[in-house]
Amino acid sequence: MSHLHIPDGVLPLWLWASGWVAALAIVYLAGKFSERADVRRKVPLLAVVSALMLIAMSSEIVPIAYHINLTIVGGVLLGPALSVIAAFIAEVVLAMLGHGGVTVLGLNTLIIATEMVVGGALFRLVVRLIGRRHVGWSAAVTTVLTLALTTTMMVGIVAIGGGAAAASRQHGALDPSTLKFENPFKAGVFSSGLFRGGEGGATAPSGAGSSSSSSSGTPASQTLSIRRFAIVVYTLGPIGWIIEALVTAGILGYVARVRPSLIWEGALAVAEHRIPDHETGLHP
């Protein structure tokens, strides 16, 4: 529910590039950390959990345009390091299927990884507080709190990058009121925001909204409305949080009844099936 469904090119370059750098750094660190032991077990495990998240994220609940994430489930089962990698894998594949945008992939990885890591940790904390008999409730509370956190992260990211960005970005587009192309780049090429995404610096064209300028000289009526965006997200978001909480509670509750070791000991603690040496190709 909470990852950025923001198209490519809406957020400024510095923001999404920073997201890419940060995401690659934590994925690299998580990868190197995970490679220390038992890679053969981790690779297929990561693949199936990423596939599950992928299936969930790409299955839209028609007609309300929601989808579940299963990130908390993944976070509980995988632990922090593998969660970061699973978040990256799911986002990379989704981006190539046109879902989510390639430029915001780094930011999305950070958000989903946060959701999984915080969700996993919070679930264990809530279970410790209210007991192992209430796995479903623990999962539901954890999911709502975690999704509220990551949704706030998403709004924060849009606020950081999008608030003033639209004003000069829309320069060069057809003005629907006059059916003319405005020429607003009076401050030159670099201050037109080509390399900065257009945020700040550029003076907006005269016209509607110019009377209500913000402190950066950008007309308030021409910027992305963070307030409106936040209102829409915090109005529609809780419906998604509740859907996700119900699904997460149902799944983790089921797993706690059927195979509790997966939750309490983690997916990597599954009893190993020993393969006889002659089947592995080893000879004494």
Binding site: E35, I85, A173, V247, V255
Partner: protein, 266 residues
């Protein structure tokens, strides 16, 4: 998500796009993405989407699948645009950008087998990340098939019925729980197989060479040209804005030619 159809299109097609080197397609995609990111001129974005559509049509890809996949992010972009755009024009550009970038990505995925799309990523990330990325696709196939069979059997046994939404939701959630357990068994089986086959880290994904380097070079050159147009219209707006219709007119001609060619060969 119909992964089977996507995979069939990627592996069984023989169009000019399928014959391009995966590297060429990925570079061209990156250039088109850069063009989408750079411009905020709605007619330039429209030019890009028309040209990518022409590529889809000329390669005889399934139009409903390609445009349907590209429309999905458009839906979310519409919500974002509604929630934050200051006016209709900015909102329209936001939606069009989403659809254009998604259509370009989908075109690559529909004409390139999955391992070849992600092989370049696999080479630069740690082993566990790269290998899991390649294995995810196979796992997605298996889990999708299993989940669909599970849902069908539940429907047949009246576990899922429209008149009992709460009961149906509970059953579906349990099916997801069952799928989760199945997926862990699957990962255990994969682990056993990998041990038996002597996996020691790093799966090999080959990137085939181009069948016709000249066409590859032409595609890259055209993508560079598109990025150039996008940058030019952003930088030299004072001179060029009144002529923004020109690239779109050219792209429209290309689209019509593609449509005619597709119609004549069908």
């Amino acid at each position: 998500m119909n992964l089977g159809v996507i995979d069939t299109s990627a592996t069984s097609g023989s169009s000019w796009l399928h014959r391009l080197s995966p590297r060429t397609k990925l570079v061209a995609f990156a250039l088109i993405l850069a063009a989408v990111v750079t411009t905020w001129n709605i007619l330039i974005v429209a030019t890009l989407v028309v040209l990518v559509s022409a590529a889809v049509l000329s390669a005889r890809l399934r139009g409903r699948l390609a445009f349907g996949l590209a429309a999905y992010p458009g839906l979310f972009a519409l919500i974002f645009a509604f929630a934050s755009a200051p006016d209709v024009m900015t909102g329209a550009v936001i939606v069009l950008k989403a659809v254009t970038a998604a259509l370009a990505a989908v075109t690559v995925v529909l004409t390139t087998p999955y391992p070849q799309v992600f092989a370049p990523v696999q080479r630069i990330v740690p082993t566990v990340v790269g290998d899991a990325l390649l294995m995810t696709y196979r796992a997605t196939f298996l889990l999708l098939e299993k989940f669909s069979n599970l849902l069908r059997s539940m429907r047949l046994r009246a576990g899922i019925a429209g008149v009992h939404p709460v009961h149906s939701a509970r059953t579906t959630t349990r099916a997801l729980g069952g799928l989760l357990l199945y997926s862990f068994d699957l990962s255990q089986r994969d682990y056993d197989i990998m041990r038996l086959r002597g996996y020691a880290g790093r799966l090999q994904a080959e990137l085939p060479r181009s069948a016709s380097p000249a066409i590859d070079a032409a595609v890259i050159a055209f993508a560079v040209l598109l990025l150039g147009v996008s940058v030019l219209w952003r930088v030299a707006w004072q001179t060029l804005n009144p002529f923004s219709w020109l690239p779109l007119a050219g792209a429209s001609v290309v689209l019509i030619v593609s449509l005619v060619a597709r119609w004549r060969t069908s």
